[in-house]
Amino acid sequence: MSFGIPFTPPEASSIAGSVDTLFYTLLAFTAALGLFLTVLVVFYAIKYRAGSKAERTGERARSLPLEVTWTVASLLIAFVIFGWGAVLFLRREHPPPDALEIAGLGKQWMWEFRHPGGQREINELHVPVGKTVIVSLASQDVIHSFFVPAFRVKQDAVPGRTTNVWFTADEPGRYHLFCAQYCGTQHSEMGGWVTAMPPEDYAAWLENQGKGDTLAADGEKLFRALGCSGCHEKSSKVRAPDLAGIFGRPVALDNQQTVIADDRYLRDSILNPKKEIAAGYDPVMPSFDGLVDEGEMQMLLAYLKSLSPRATTKSEATQ
């Protein structure tokens, strides 16, 4: 900051520093190359201006060794930058263990978050410093994008699927939260603040918010209200797959294939149950398409996940 004019965004997450190292290295390299070419062109333009006395004899307008050299050099440099960027990028797939999972729902034009204890907030997100937070994103309508510049993270929230983004805030403060994917009339108003606070302050904040039901508990209520429990519980007369421990487990299908019961599978099984039928069961389940909205879907998924403790973080990462 100088004279109140910002030149760089705050670095407030565990990955921000390493992303910036790559950014500044690339900035130094491109500035050097760009300046070198500019100086070269200006130098030629002056030296070889019409009527100057510069030496112009010899040499055809090509030089194979030179051309091969700059082609190979460009390739090598490009591969180094590629590799560096890719290695940092792939960390997105591997959040540190023991993450705090917060459900994020994008809708025209607000972000709604639910903490594991059931606390809800709109266009505000409170997170503890030093603890990895996974925001599992869904969208109620169009594509939105969860963007916190200070954390160097961004992830689209796509209707009809769950995507995840993780970060570990390492500097307390209030940081911009934006929607980065154009989503209609009030796109630029869709955002707010992420507040990173010391863990004890976060705990106090949660306490202050009062405890609602947890997301999973809400999901369980819904599970009963929608009649899912009627078939899927052990005591049921209708034969339907037992859902205890389902999340993250392989499921054999009646077409000889096997899929992992991840977010995508569970969501599809609720909305479009005829698509993938568990082997050995009759395709009798009705579709709940139109009966559950995205917020309720997040509750149901949270409940199903809660039936298989410890499985979450692993397949969480892959969308």
């Binding site: 690339l26 307008a61 997105r92 963007f147 992830q155 209707p159």
Partner: protein
Amino acid sequence: MSTEALRPTSYLGEGAGPAAWLLTTDHKRVAWLYLVSLTAFFFLGGAFAVLMRVELATPAGDLVSDDTYNRLFSLHGIIMVWFFLVPSIPATLGNFLLPLMIGARDLAFPRLNLASWYVFILGSAFALVSVLAGGVDTGWTFYTPLSTLYANGFVSMAALGVFIVGFSTIMTGVNFIVTIHKLRAPGLTWFRLPIFVWTMYATALVMVLATPVLAASLILIVLERVFGIGIFNPALGGDPLLFQHLFWFYSHPAVYIMILPGMGVVSEVLPCFSRRPLFGYKAVALSSMAIAVFGFLVWGHHMFVSGQSAYAGVLFSFLSFCVAIPSAIKVFNWSLTLRKGEITFETPMLYALFFLALFTFGGLAGLFLAALAIDVHVHATYFVVAHFHYIMVGGMVTAYMAGLHFWWPKLTGRMYSETWGRIAATVTFLGFNLTFFPQFVLGFLGMPRRYHTYPPEFQFWHVLSSAGAVVLAVGYLMPLLYLGWSMFRGARAPANPWGATGLEWQTASPPPPHNFETMPKVDRPAYDYAMKGLRHEAFSPHKDEAR
């Protein structure tokens, strides 16, 4: 003026009524039809941009409403991409010059050429009606399900306009490919072709192969929006990411449709005003083809944070770095072309040098976007806006201006004011950088694109950018005035004012209706500036303003 009387009638002199122009099949006149229409669209799209920049001078949304702002950037994008940039150089300079450069009387299919303009106008009518009826608010990218279910503008109308214009693009592409294959003058082998022709060829290939995919995806949007057929909307069983794959499969190659012709123009201008052959001719020719081919394999780099598989992201990042190589090769070759030259700095050369600078820096900014971890941060921010404007405006429009000034004597038979030309080029360069450089900083700070309002701490950079936009607008309005003036009052141009090597300079300015009095034969390579008798005569006999 006895010489005047002896001069064979030029293509401009053959019939002056509206019918003589609107029913012409002369590629040179069709080029003018396009030039006039595209100029109108350029200033319309530019006016939308200026309105946006004025709105963004303050953080609050105080000039226009959010819905209006969203329509402004959507229409700016739609018009500039499909109604200016894609056809710009190919349909105007390409149409005019391609037959002249290869020693042909016309394009292979003159009537198809005229038809392509009518199709263009039909598509334009749809786009303009959608503007007048209330506009479109989807962004130029038409992302689903926003465009199919939620947007309340005249989306189907605009999409149909773009769909129709696509056919005009395909017609031009087919025409160019056949012309270059079949109508080259005796002795004009592939490796004697001017680079401009090579880039027209590469562009035409991409036009023919990519545009149908755009057409298909736009039709699918209309089907879903109007008939409720579920293709992209998950509530109907569709997949929103499918649209992005289809759209970018066209739209990434389309940026090469937009930049390759610009590369062609500067490859003509730099050797001419350096009096040197193009350095590494074959590498430049082949790298155009490499760009056209690789350009089809990188679409996924627009989708690194879309929910696409991370490993697909890694592959697309790798391929994106590969496509950077042929562009780098070209920049090196252009720079080295100046070496040992006899360089003069007329208006086209100034534009070409500014192109070189802006394209280089814009291209280098592309490395940041191709690098995955950085893209996660700067994706969908002003960094991307700055990057593509450096390439599309700083690169393509600057090259277009270079070409327009370079071939203006050939198009009109008149010289323009060199002083005003140089001033305009310089104003454009300064205005451009003032407009778009601050946007790199904004993007790195995290300012998302397509925002009607923004946090106050970003204002300093937005004010710079808005001020630059005004300067830039002046830079673009000036040529409109002095070029327009020169059409009627400018000094008569000789056949080859710059002493350039291309075949187009061996015929009169303006050329006769069938281009050449005698069919040219070619027995030497392109850019043979060591050739005897070539003289740069533009401003020695006809000094500025002297008529």
